[in-house]
């Protein structure tokens, strides 16, 4: 376990303000100040301490709204936590698959989007150029690659995004429940590629509600509930604790 630390979180807390209005306006803000209203806060993550090392395969479980996706957003530095310290190894290509096709612009063609999104993952134009043909081939989009992606079907979109995310040279992959897209054949292709990459030492962090999948694929499981880290350890142990809690809850509800 002397591998490099890729992510380190220390006492991280994320709070959301509950907005009464979907949009903030100056009028509202002044009005609130004058009336002395305080906005309510929702704690999305609380006191999270975590270290993730190179080559780990981590699964994150928890009920809806537990803070799993927020945690991934903290890891990708999209969210800056209100408290605590986040350290991320910037030298690695960290590829988020929070949803398929992030960084895709509807008006740009599939090819252009590969470059734009690829650059956001930290690749240079040359690196993308070298891989573009194999990306197109894997995504099965030969005839459509120069069309604007707004004309793509959701399956085409997802295929291109997955091909791009996994083809160049990802070192860390953050996956948030994205394997429900595409047809069965493409799913199989995706899984085969994921397994190949994981065997090669790719660091992966999965969020999934499919606990059996996580037990099979991961070597460490993290359970988050109400923004707190409940358990962090061997997949089978964490999974059974998670499931027990779940059945206890159901009993309470039934009574």
């Amino acid at each position: 376990m002397n591998k490099n630390i890729l992510f380190s979180l220390e006492g991280v807390a994320v709070e959301f303000e509950r907005h009464y209005l979907s949009q903030r306006s100056l009028r509202e803000a002044v009005g609130r100040k004058l009336n002395g209203h305080k906005s309510e806060k929702i704690i999305a993550l609380n006191n999270i301490n975590l270290e993730i090392r190179e080559g780990e395969h981590i699964g994150i479980i928890g009920r809806n709204g537990a803070g799993k996706s927020t945690l991934l957003r903290v890891l990708t530095r999209v969210i800056t936590p209100a408290y605590g310290k986040v350290q991320v190894d910037d030298s690695k290509h960290i590829v988020p698959l929070l949803e398929l096709g992030i960084g895709f612009q509807p008006d740009l063609s599939g090819r252009e989007n590969c470059f734009v999104a690829g650059m956001l993952m930290g690749y240079t134009k040359k690196e993308i150029q070298e891989k573009i043909e194999s990306i197109i081939e894997f995504a099965e989009l030969k005839d459509f690659i120069d069309e604007p992606v707004k004309n793509y079907s959701s399956g085409m979109y997802a295929r291109l995004a997955f091909a791009l995310a996994t083809d160049i040279d990802p070192q860390v992959l953050l996956v948030d429940e994205v394997f429900g897209v595409g047809d069965e054949f493409f799913m199989k292709k995706c899984m085969a590629r994921m397994q190949h990459l994981m065997n090669r030492g790719l660091t992966t962090i999965f969020i999934s509600h499919n606990v059996d999948f996580l037990i099979n694929e991961c070597d460490r499981l993290i359970w988050i509930e109400n923004g707190e880290l409940m358990m962090d350890g061997i997949p089978s142990a964490v999974a059974s604790a998670y499931r027990n809690q779940d059945s206890q809850l159901r009993l309470v509800n039934a009574n």
């Binding site: 949009q23 903030r24 306006s25 650059m119 956001l120 993952m121 930290g122 240079t124 134009k125």
Partner: protein, 260 residues
């Protein structure tokens, strides 16, 4: 102050490539695309100069040259402020999903607006040629004279971008202030319409655009070099607004996620 503290390499690569792709896309589906970039400012300039030449009772070709000289940078400035102001909110599709420097989208908008400015400056010079103005060496200063305008527009745009992220209703306010600034500045009318030492003439001395406009009006219309005072005040305004804008972004960037 190191640049890499403000924007990382990958964000810069993204911004540059994204800007180029946008420019290509904009004109991909229309042959008129590039042509339109010439027609639009030409029409605008011609109509405005006809109307205001009548109001100001000036010789049309003389007035047109005067007007164009400062109107072209003003239009660029206004565009930069507006585009940069909305850049963060419009960049929501990415900013909420993947890490990219908060300066990536503002810089992207600056590049796009500057590209359009190139077209309008060409149009202005074509029109100058028609108006039989004598060409003097002073016009060579224009590539330098646009810099304070660009920096001022970008800085002010950044300030507005932060405000706009938190308060969506400031947009009409900003528009109103820009319009007010425009109509009170000596872009539409020549300062010489006021009596020297009159209140209006003295007020002009306190109008920031007076000095920025002089960077264009003097070399183009009066065929003289801008004064040291023009440069000093213009550059000071530009740098001050840029520093303040950058400061605001740095200060509030961790909050953007929740308000986009």
């Amino acid at each position: 102050m190191i640049l890499s503290d403000y924007i990382d390499k990958r964000s810069l690569r993204f911004t540059w490539y994204y800007s180029l792709s946008q420019l290509k896309t904009k004109y991909r589906y229309t042959i008129l695309g590039y042509l339109w970039n010439f027609i639009e400012p030409a029409l605008y300039l011609v109509i405005l100069s006809l109307v205001f030449a009548v109001i100001n009772r000036m010789n049309i070709s003389d007035y047109a040259v005067f007007l164009f000289s400062a109107l072209v940078p003003w239009r660029y400035f206004e565009k930069v402020v507006n585009l940069v102001m909305e850049s963060l909110v419009n960049g929501e599709w990415l900013l909420k999903k993947m890490y990219v420097s908060p300066f990536a989208f503002p810089i992207n908008r600056l590049i796009n607006a500057s590209f359009e400015f190139l077209f309008s400056i060409i149009v202005a010079f074509i029109l100058f040629a028609f108006l039989k103005e004598n060409w003097t060496i002073h016009r060579a200063i224009i590539p330098l004279a646009i810099l304070p305008w660009a920096i001022f527009g970008f800085g002010l745009g950044l300030i507005c971008a932060v405000l706009y992220t938190f308060f969506r209703d400031i947009k009409p306010l900003v528009q109103m202030l820009l319009t007010l600034t425009f109509f009170t500045s000596p872009i539409l009318f020549n300062r010489s319409v006021f009596e020297p030492n009159s209140l209006q003439a003295r007020l002009m001395d306190y109008h920031p655009i007076t000095y920025l406009a002089a960077l264009f009006q003097k070399p183009v219309y009066e065929a003289i070099w801008p004064s040291q005072l023009d440069w000093t005040i213009s550059i000071t305004i530009a740098i001050a607004s840029l520093l303040f804008g950058v400061f605001l972004i740095k200060k509030y960037k961790s909050k953007f996620y929740y308000y986009l």
